[in-house]
């Protein structure tokens, strides 16, 4: 029955760190327990969601009227740059690494990550990076303000001429974040390949593990390009080289290739794990096996592969020759196929289901609807003639927020609610959760749906002011944005008060199937310790009457008695 070549017991890490505190203080310590690190990541990320959200509120306040009257345009540019950077590098990547830390070891029955200390070090680089990035608000000249993509020559203009400037700190911060992400990726990939429980062949892994694996593989391939580009940019900015500086014979478009070679795949780094979360949750709350499990699992790697060869679709109007535009258009459109396979598999799972509309399921279904929408506008952007019209307009802003917030963000909320009982040992309040969902769904729709029309009509993105014909769409969007701000209140209330004094969570409140649900809530430091179960079935065996692991009753009983 055993298909793994490695016995995880042999690879067990020394645990916990001697002298590590065992109360709330552990979340502020250099702890090497993946579950602690997971919560550290998620907590820090949610804090930065608020920071990025506040920046967005100021932006939407500025955009509620056509002229630039709330803040100086130079300030607006700094705000949108920092908003984008904070949301991507300090909210999305960390929060997803939090899920990886919580879920990968527990789902595959490993006691911890392969390299626990590296894991903790990767996490602690995040606050370092955050400090470097945010300190740029206080340097003369203000923070970086050439957008989160930092295209030269704007990004290397450095009007005050200081060596330490916002852009310098920005590049430094992005480089540190890259180091941290590479450290994480090595760890996750190694853990998945080498530390699965006995019997857990690749096709017995939960889909979340598949998607995390595919996503982290992308990190390993793509990040070096971004880091290389960032270092060259730093040299151009600070030391007078001319890699990208046109006066010195450099090519600013070259930077865009470096940048997008990583940053296009980066969207899959973020969205793939959310596909994993969708797959996990839809089966649990439909009480059905995942339709076409193997197709869904493999589609992750097909997306990884295709994701690496489409970056030029961000550069259709930069002077790219026609043959290249046509080629990239085809590869871009191809991504719709494995993605479509996943969507149809989720819909197939709903067929003949026993659906339960808990808060996580609401966020999943809401996210799914938004993802279908965002996917369709994505295909539009992939076709060259349409992209030439709507590229770099608010249509793009609307499209990527449909993916990045209305899909990925929703998936993250769903995941947080779903696994909250498991990792905190407390139940959340369903009522507050539903209020949070309703406000979020309405707010997000008001915020980004109208902006599609603004973009189609020709409103460029990154503007602090705009022509009056765009006013109505922007007023609705700003109302939606403020509603999203309000939506965070029930969420924060829920998390804080449930964690402090919510009902004690049973081991498996949702009747979910998976190794993590065979552990007590919250799981002990080394998960299964020396009693790692032997996996005998594919995941999601609802209605099939087959146990997931050998001797399942033993694990169930033990998890309930703990």
């Amino acid at each position: 029955m055993t298909t793994t070549k490695y016995d995880p017991r042999v690879l067990k890490a020394p645990h916990p760190v001697p002298g590590a505190p065992d109360n709330w203080k552990r979340f502020f310590s250099f702890n090497t327990d993946a579950k602690v690190i997971g919560i550290q990541y998620i907590g820090l990320a949610l804090f930065f969601l608020l920071v990025g959200g506040l920046l967005a509120m100021v932006m939407r306040g500025e955009l509620i009227t056509p002229p630039a009257d709330l803040v100086d345009p130079s300030v607006y540019n700094g705000l949108y740059t920092m908003h984008g950077t904070v949301m991507l590098f300090l909210f999305l990547f960390p929060v997803l690494n939090g899920f990886n830390n919580l879920l990968i070891p527990t789902m595959i029955g490993a006691p911890d990550m392969a390299f626990p200390k590296l894991n903790a070090a990767a996490f602690w680089l995040v606050p370092v990076f955050a400090f470097v990035l945010l300190s740029s608000f206080f340097v003369p000249g203000g923070p970086a303000s050439s957008g989160w993509w930092s295209y030269p020559p704007v990004s290397i203009q450095n009007p005050l001429g200081h060596l330490i400037n916002g852009e310098f700190l920005w590049i430094l911060a992005v480089a540190i974040s890259g180091v941290s992400s590479i450290m994480g990726a090595i760890n996750f990939v190694t853990t998945i390949i080498r530390m699965r429980a006995p019997g857990m062949g690749f096709f017995k892994m939960p889909v979340f593990v598949w998607t995390a694996w595919a996503a982290q593989t992308l990190q390993l391939i793509g990040l070096p390009a971004l880091t290389g580009g960032a270092i060259m940019l730093l040299f151009d900015l600070s030391f007078g080289t001319s890699f990208f500086r046109p006066e010195g014979g450099g090519d600013p478009v070259l930077y865009q290739h470096f940048f997008w070679f990583y940053s296009h795949p980066a969207v899959y780094v973020m969205v793939l794990p959310v596909f994993g979360i969708f797959s996990e949750l839809i089966t649990v709350y439909s009480r059905k096996p995942l339709f076409g499990y193997k197709f869904v699992a493999l589609a992750s790697f097909i997306i990884t592969f295709l994701g690496l060869i489409v970056w030029v679709h961000h550069m259709f109007y930069t002077g790219t020759p026609q043959w290249m535009r046509n080629l990239v258009m085809i590869t871009t459109m191809l991504i719709a196929v494995p993605t479509g396979v996943k969507v149809f598999a989720w819909l197939g799972t709903l067929w003949g289901a026993k659906i339960r509309l808990t808060t996580p399921m609401l966020f999943v279904l809401g996210g799914l609807v938004n993802f279908i929408f965002g996917g369709i506008t994505g295909v539009m952007l992939g076709t060259v003639p349409i992209d030439i019209h709507v590229g770099n307009t608010y249509f793009v802003v609307a499209h990527f927020h449909y993916i990045i917030f209305n899909t990925i963000g929703f998936g993250i909320f769903a995941g947080i609610y779903h696994w909250f009982p498991k990792f905190t040992g407390r139940m959340y309040y369903e009522g507050l959760g539903k209020i949070h969902f309703t406000l979020t769904f309405i707010g997000a729709t008001l915020n980004w749906l109208p902006l599609h029309w603004a973009g189609l009509y020709g409103m460029p993105r990154r503007v602090a002011s705009y022509d009056p014909e765009f006013a109505l769409w922007n007023v609705i969007a700003s109302i939606g944005a403020f509603m999203l701000g309000v939506a965070s209140i029930p969420f924060i209330l829920n998390i804080v008060s449930s964690w402090a004094r919510g009902a004690k969570a049973p081991a498996n409140p949702w009747r979910a199937i998976g190794l993590e649900w065979l552990l007590p809530s919250p799981p002990p430091a080394e998960n299964f310790e020396d009693d790692i179960p032997t996996v005998i079935s594919e995941p999601y065996g609802y209605g099939l009457g087959k146990p997931l692991v050998e001797d399942e009753e033993f694990y169930v009983r033990r998890s309930m008695e703990a």
Binding site: G147, R287, L350, V369, P385, G391, Y542
Partner: protein, 315 residues
């Protein structure tokens, strides 16, 4: 599992088939209507390229709407008819897969997106023949004039389009300089896109034209306007502090009006052209230079026709 309770049946039950047929027909009707509306979401089409783009967009909206309504309809259907009753702790139907179905829904999207891709390539080729684009590297010592000869079929031009932080300047072959772009109706106009500092983007929504302007390169681009009016030209590539103000107008007029504008303007003396960044920057300095660092705007271009930024535009 349920087969003991139901009579044996071949294929899909009739009622289900009817539901599928009716809802598909409804979905198609709705999508068709939405694809009509899609034309109205775009600014007036004012160039020979615009109808191709608009038709493709309408087609994509139609297909997209069909898929979206179909999928969301299915989700709503499931929510209505596949909810677990309270206290029902049983499992749903344990269907794990169906190879035929999975192959079908892999093939269908594949066919749709490839059809779209090939149709778009066709549109691309059409657009390229209506307005060819050539990028020239200045470092290679190819003079802008060499670039201009590339579009032999141009009727007017080459008009130099000079983008700066933050102003637009247009230089006509006979030396006329203007802050607004004047074009004669139905004539193929050729532009040389030039940037003096950073990336900018030449974007006229009504023409469905966007082309980044790259410092260090000259790009030759042609387009034929097909509708008289005053249209907005917007910088679409972030170019620094006063980026959002880097807008001007394109005036498409009859050939006579255009010719008389050219001759009249040629006689006018050079004056300061439109440069919204300049006045905003002066205001900022007067208010105590608050805000975060910015490059000072380039001096306003000296032009024969400074344009009229107050005039209302059509799209």
């Amino acid at each position: 599992m349920t087969s003991t309770r139901q009579s044996p049946k071949k294929g899909l039950p009739l009622r289900l088939l009817a539901v599928i047929l009716v809802s598909t027909a409804l979905d198609a009707a709705v999508s068709f209507q939405v694809s009509r509306w899609a034309y109205g979401w775009l600014p007036v089409p004012a160039s020979t390229a615009a109808p191709y783009v608009d038709n493709l967009f309408s087609l994509e909206v139609g297909i997209g709407c069909f898929v979206f309504v179909g999928c969301v309809g299915f989700i709503i259907w499931s929510l209505l008819f596949s909810r677990a009753e309270k206290y029902d702790e049983s499992d749903g139907l344990p269907i794990e897969g169906n190879t035929k179905l999975e192959v079908t829904w892999t093939v269908i999207p594949f066919v749709i997106v490839m059809a779209l891709a090939f149709y778009s390539i066709h549109v691309n080729e059409k657009l390229a023949s209506l307005g060819p684009k050539q990028k020239y590297d200045v470092a290679l010592n190819q003079s802008p004039d060499a670039v201009a000869t590339l579009d032999a079929r141009r009727d007017i031009g080459p008009i130099e389009v000079i983008a700066r932080q933050w102003s637009w300047e247009f230089v006509y072959p006979d030396g006329v300089r203007s802050s607004e772009l004047h074009l004669p109706l139905n004539q193929r106009a050729n532009f040389l896109l030039i940037s003096e500092d950073v990336l900018h983007s030449f974007y006229i929504p009504a023409f469905r034209l966007k082309q980044d302007i790259i410092p260090g390169s000259v790009i030759s681009y042609s387009i034929t306007p097909t509708r008289e009016g005053r249209f907005r030209l917007r910088d679409a590539m972030f170019s620094g502090a006063y980026f959002s103000k880097n807008q001007t107008d394109v005036i498409v007029e009859s050939e006579e009006a255009y010719d008389s504008w050219l001759t009249k303007t040629a006689k006018r003396p050079l004056v300061q052209g439109l440069s919204p960044g300049t006045s905003l920057y002066e205001k900022r300095l007067k208010d105590g230079d608050r805000g975060w660092a910015t490059v000072p705007p380039a001096p306003p271009p000296m032009v024969n026709d400074p344009g009229n930024p107050e005039a209302p535009h059509d799209a």
